[in-house]
């Protein structure tokens, strides 16, 4: 029963192992002669200012949130699509109502400019 998933497990082990191996090899055999100038982060030849991580604009957040909410919608689509024929017209109406409600959300997002990139 669980044996069906053995190929996936093997794939996981090999890919993780390979990635670890490559990092290990690089770390172990690569020559390493650090100097002050080399270990500075590269910023077009200038001396770097401020922290290395950079903040992202909040606009990304809205797009990501909308993605997640519609992602959940898709989770419900999949089992529906498989049994769609068995459910018949009733299932179609059911899904139509579901999509309509979420479509209103899409229209709202669109009209309020949540999808615009300014």
């Amino acid at each position: 029963m669980l044996i069906e998933y053995l190929p996936i497990a093997i794939l996981l082990v090999i890919s993780t192992g390979l990635a670890a191996l490559i990092v290990w090899i690089g770390n172990t055999f690569g020559p390493r002669r650090p100097t002050l100038r080399k270990s500075l982060p590269y910023e077009s030849g200038m001396n770097p200012i401020g922290p290395g991580t950079r903040r992202m604009p909040v606009r990304f957040y809205l797009v990501a949130v909308l993605f997640i909410l519609f992602d959940i919608e898709v989770v419900f689509f999949l089992p529906w699509a498989i049994v769609f024929r068995q459910l018949g017209l009733f299932g179609l109406i059911e899904m139509f109502v579901f999509i309509f409600i979420l479509l209103v959300g899409y229209v709202y997002a669109w009209k309020k400019g949540a999808l615009e990139w300014e």
Partner: protein
């Protein structure tokens, strides 16, 4: 599914459809900010209320036992829709004055009410959970509606974190109840318990976790930490709606789940509820004495009143008393809703921008300058205390009677004693209004005056006709599975 199923949730369908269409109307037709959205939203509430009242006297389950129509559900749906109407009336001028008017306010309000209505008709724990989230998520957003100011945002984040924490407890509690009985439907749980196939230990733990989660929602001690901060920080119109709606929604779930599905667990859970109710009454009333801010004072007052309603839940295992207890709890919810909305209307009338006008001292001189408003506030304070002839008095009378019939004499004694304590801080407000000199500033807005006036009159007049009203609440029985 058939037509009867749809008819069972017709008030809910009307409200959700209305709110969803209102989004489209708002986006395409009303464009400007102070358009007709509040009026349209109120109209939707009235239509839904008509559908709810049309169901009076019916009793059946729908959607494979997911939903149930009974007197309890209809009574609560009407209560929720009514509090939605008051919520709109309180917000209408307030939002304009505070410069935070957006039509989404009313749309989210409608969705929150539809969550509460779903809670009233829920007959399956999965529906209870979804209803809990549907009523809470719009409230998180509404609590933060005063953006971009610090106080509302803080209130919203605190409310959100504790609400989500409570949701975690409810989920795990439901999981254990499912593990104990192999079903999540309330009828199925009753059957499993009666057939002896249920694992009662596991079911008790599950029920206790559900109780913790809902305890956060109704602000029972020791799960009350958020209430004062959230009530103080959120816009007052939202606080007013939250203090009535969210609390009634939580109690709807508690009453439905414990009274109709879990009476067998009374031996284990009644003592727990006893302690919760006693702690809530004592702490809410005692800490309220020290408050100098009216919003915080009303927050502790709302905690204390949750304690009184919890008293009705203590007798949930005693089938002879429990239907009376449900009626008493419903009656008290109505009394609390009317009184509380009135008090908040007065608070909103005195509130100024930047959290000003909320100290108790700002009420000095109100009796001389605005006698009508002061008289209304005095009525609400008397009703909160439980002095006749007010709704609060009658409500407490019925509650104490039920508790005594259930044999919990000491709990009733605690209830009476804490009511006496509460007289101190409620009457202090009356004293400040009439005995001290001051120059209070009041916003004379028509909807606020109307709300304060109507609720004040209702508080007194309805108490004179308490008998028929209680008889009506008594018909709002739970369908037993």
């Amino acid at each position: 599914m058939n037509v009867q199923d749809l008819y069972a949730i017709s008030p809910l369908i009307v409200l959700v459809t209305w709110a969803t269409l209102l989004i489209l109307v708002d986006v395409y037709i009303i464009r400007d900010r102070n358009g007709g959205t509040p009026i349209l939203a109120a109209l939707g509430l009235l239509v839904a209320m008509g559908f709810a009242i049309a169901q009076t006297g019916q009793q059946y389950t729908a959607f494979n036992g997911m939903a149930v129509v009974d007197g309890f559900a209809i009574f609560l749906q009407v209560l929720f829709l009514g509090s939605g109407l008051v919520g709109i009336a309180l917000a209408y001028n307030y939002l304009q004055r505070m410069g935070i008017e957006r039509s989404e306010y009313y749309i989210l309000l409608l969705y929150s009410i539809s969550g509460m209505m779903l809670m009233a008709i829920a007959a399956d724990l999965i529906v209870v959970f979804l209803a809990l989230e549907l009523l809470s998520i719009p409230l998180y957003v509404l609590a933060g509606f005063g953006r971009p100011k610090v106080e509302p945002e803080e209130a919203a984040l605190k409310y959100f974190l504790l609400g989500a924490f409570a949701g975690g407890f409810v989920v795990y509690g439901i999981a254990l109840a499912f593990g104990a009985t192999a079903t999540t439907s309330l009828a199925g749980i009753v059957q499993a318990v009666n057939a002896g196939s249920a694992n009662l230990t596991l079911l008790s733990i599950g029920a206790a976790l559900i109780l913790i989660g809902l305890g956060f929602k109704v602000a029972a001690v020791p799960f009350h930490m958020w209430t004062p901060d959230v009530y103080q920080g959120a816009p007052s119109a939202v606080t007013a709606f939250m203090s009535v709606g969210a609390k009634a929604g939580g109690f709807a779930a508690l009453l439905r789940v414990f009274v109709s599905a879990l009476p067998e667990l009374a031996a284990d859970l009644s003592p727990v509820l006893w302690v919760l109710a006693a702690l809530t009454m004592i702490l809410g009333n005692v800490v309220a004495i020290a408050q100098g801010n009216i919003k915080r004072l009303l927050a502790y007052s709302s905690i204390a009143h949750a304690g009184y309603i919890l008293m009705a839940l203590v007798v949930f295992g005693n089938t002879q008393v429990s239907s009376d207890a449900v009626a008493a709890a419903l009656f008290y919810l109505v009394a609390y809703a009317v009184t509380s909305f009135g008090a908040w209307a007065v608070v909103i009338a005195l509130e100024k921008a930047e959290q000003k006008g909320l100290a108790l001292d700002d009420y000095a001189g109100l009796g001389r300058k605005y006698p009508g408003l002061a008289a209304a506030m005095a009525v609400f304070m008397l009703s909160f205390t439980g002095v006749p002839p007010t709704l609060g008095f009658v409500g407490k009378l019925y509650l104490f009677r039920t508790v005594l019939e259930g044999g919990f004499i000491w709990l009733a004694v605690i209830g009476v004693l804490t009511s006496l304590v509460s007289a101190y801080y409620y009457l202090r407000i009356v004293v400040i209004m009439y005995m001290r000199d001051g120059d209070p500033q009041v916003h004379a807005e028509p909807w606020l005056r109307l709300t304060a006036g109507v609720t004040a009159v209702a508080t007194v007049v309805l108490s004179l006709y308490a008998g028929p009203l209680f008889a009506w609440a008594s018909q709002a029985v739970l369908k037993l599975f």
